[in-house]
């Protein structure tokens, strides 16, 4: 019998390990939020992230008082770090939506333990992403000019431009992600309300839960709404990164003008996002002792998704090179040659291949896939690689286009770097706050994973 159980376990691994019931999963997850003492490690983590976030604050201050000239953006590289970082962050956000929406539609039960903080990650990543184009406008207080509203200038935004599509796509994405995340939180906030001892927390959670009481009629509409949101988010997330890629591929520039861009960018986004989910999950499950809820199986599945999407991205790299040659267009051929061998940033291309192409090949092997340590290392390498991908696409294409007389060198200034690193601190500071204040794992959905949640009819065996 032992053998049969082993086989069943292998085919259909349990998503919640250990002896858990409804009460114990509730306590375990909500205690992170409700217990009085904040762990010392939390202060260290939050403190470091918050200090790094000050780089963002001071750079923004300096930027607003001095103008975008503090960055290295200049002809011919007018789009540099701001858009690299924008695309990097927004791509990271996509894994959260993939986990919460697409895996829900595909009925993948393993999403349940990781969807909540993956969605939080999405929100915070989109917040970081949104900062860059807004600050890059130079006068961020006039960023509302991007929106269509009747104005005294008698002008309207140009809807034929992908940049305008971006405004609609990214703002819709941020809003819908927030709605999806909050709807998922309502029943769990009600749990916190019922468990909180402190009067003020009870009051605050009571307000945020909107008086949720777990009624069957409410659950009925709730589930319809949740499923519809998943169905709406799925095409949304694919459209957002496709539109981001159109910012480039609609232009005539060699290195940007490629039809493969939308799917290749979407795969890259999911690839980078899963890397970030792993970077967040692996320490979280150790620090909060959550290995029974976020099991090794979860990590292995995420590793496999990373491998699959990484291979699609590698196919994209191969096709870029192939079509540069196959097109026989001399500017395309030169672009690729310049990017790979001759240009000043030739090494960034090979570093990119190393980070995104070579490093993930280790995931074919069980030894690496099943080791949280190696998954963590590979995820960090992939995150760097995905940043380099945008660097290569944006910088090397703009540096040398058609006319040698208009070529130019680009090297980032210190403020390009402080702004970028500052957003990383900002992102992690938000993650730390979220972990302390709201349930990191969807409690009500984890309850449904327990075997006793299934309704067993008399005379029916499951």
């Amino acid at each position: 019998m032992q053998d049969v159980n082993d086989i069943v376990r292998k085919i259909n691994p349990p998503m919640v390990e250990g002896d858990h019931d409804y009460g114990s999963v509730t306590d375990k997850i909500s205690d992170i939020t409700l217990k009085k003492r904040t762990p010392f490690g939390w202060f260290i983590g939050f403190g470091i992230s918050f200090m790094v976030a000050q780089l963002l604050l001071f750079t923004t201050l300096y930027l607003v008082t001095n103008g975008v000239g503090i960055w290295a953006n200049n002809q011919p590289v007018g789009w540099a770090f701001p858009i690299i970082n924008f695309v990097w962050w927004i791509g990271i956000g996509h894994a959260g939506t993939l986990i919460s929406a697409i895996l829900l539609l595909l009925n993948q039960k393993w999403r349940t333990s990781i969807n909540r903080f993956a969605e939080a990650m999405t929100l915070f990543a989109v917040a970081c992403a949104g900062l860059f184009p807004i600050l890059h406008t130079g006068r961020p207080w006039l960023a509302y000019w991007l929106l269509p509203y009747p104005n005294t200038m008698g002008m309207w935004p140009q809807f034929r431009s992908p940049l305008m599509w971006d405004v609609f796509a990214v703002s819709t994405y941020a809003t819908v992600s927030l709605l999806f995340w909050y709807v998922g939180l309502i029943p769990d906030i009600a749990t916190l309300r019922d468990r909180a001892k402190n009067k003020w927390f009870k009051y605050a959670y009571g307000l945020l839960s909107w008086g949720w009481r777990g009624s069957a009629r409410h659950w009925h509409r709730y589930e319809i709404a949740y499923l519809l949101l998943a169905g709406l988010s799925t095409p949304l997330v694919l459209s957002v990164h496709s539109i981001v890629s159109l910012d480039f591929s609609v232009a005539q520039l060699p290195g940007w003008h490629a039809t493969i861009f939308p799917p290749y960018f979407v795969a890259g986004a999911i690839f980078a996002g899963f890397a970030m989910v792993l970077i967040l999950t692996i320490p979280l499950r150790v620090w909060y002792n959550m290995k029974d809820l976020i099991t090794d199986t979860h990590l292995i599945y995420m590793g496999k998704v990373m491998l699959a999407t990484g291979l699609i991205v590698c196919y994209g790299y191969a096709m870029e090179a192939f079509f540069a040659w196959y097109s026989a267009a001399e500017y395309e051929v030169f672009m690729m040659y310049n990017r790979m061998f001759e240009g000043p940033y030739w090494w960034s291309y090979w570093l990119l291949i190393l980070c995104n192409g070579i490093s993930i090949q280790f995931l074919w092997f069980k030894r690496f896939r099943e080791s949280p340590f190696w998954l963590f290392i590979i995820s960090i390498v992939v995150s760097i690689g995905m940043w380099l991908e945008r660097f290569v696409i944006i910088i090397t294409s703009l540096q040398r286009d058609f006319l040698p007389s208009s070529w130019g060198m680009y090297s980032p200034t210190i403020f390009d770097w402080t702004m970028y690193i500052g957003t990383i601190g900002f992102f992690f500071a938000l993650i730390f706050l979220f972990v302390r204040m709201l349930p990191v794992i969807s409690i009500f959905e984890v309850r449904t994973l327990l075997p006793e949640a299934e309704v067993k009819r008399k005379g029916e065996e499951h």
Binding site: R160, W165, D194, G211, R221
Partner: protein
């Protein structure tokens, strides 16, 4: 001196509530309540139970139709906005494309479709559920705070035409409940 308050059972209670330990028990009890002809009923559980819809006789919500309407509104709004700005109010030829460049107008209209449909889904769900509603009589039952944790509750409201205090209470006690509570108004 005020006269002592007389407890008129049918008038000043909101209903009767039975507590159960498992989702299976709740569903079985709900089926019996439905078969006994009660209609003003509700069940409370710490997670959604799909079998409950049938057991309680819950009709499919109109929410999906509302969301469809929201989506169509978003689509028309998006196309209308672009038609008005680029054809009526400020026609200008860009890149040799027609004033009404439909392919280019698809992405903003598409995003607005999703935006309005999502808002309809969330706000419609809250509205149809009668939320936000911070106070509700069921919260008067002290053990009800376990409904968001591990216990399952079944409610028959006193507003139900079949509700009769001693009889309904006896009926609920016959459902193998852990305990039956009176829900104060």
């Amino acid at each position: 001196m005020k006269p002592p308050r007389i407890r008129l059972m049918k008038d000043n209670i909101y209903g009767l509530m039975a507590e159960f330990d498992s989702s299976t028990e709740l569903v079985e009890a709900a089926e019996k309540v439905r078969d006994a002809g009660y209609t003003k009923t509700d069940a409370f559980s710490p997670f959604p139970i799909h079998e409950m819809d049938e057991a309680l006789g819950i009709k499919r919500s109109i929410l999906s139709y509302l969301v469809f309407g929201g989506g169509i509104t978003g689509l028309l709004l998006g196309l209308g906005l672009q038609y008005y700005t680029h054809v009526i109010d400020y026609p200008i030829i860009v890149g040799g494309r027609p004033h009404f460049s439909l392919p280019a107008f698809v992405p903003p209209a598409y995003e607005l479709t999703i935006l309005l449909a999502s808002f309809t889904a969330v706000l419609g769900m809250l509205f149809l559920n009668g939320l936000p509603r911070p106070y509700h009589p069921v919260f008067n039952v002290p053990r009800f705070n376990l409904a968001s944790r591990e216990k399952f509750f079944l409610l028959i409201e006193s507003a139900d035409p079949q509700f009769d205090y001693p009889e309904t209470r006896e009926f609920m006690e016959s459902l193998e409940a852990q305990e039956v509570f009176i829900v104060d108004e």
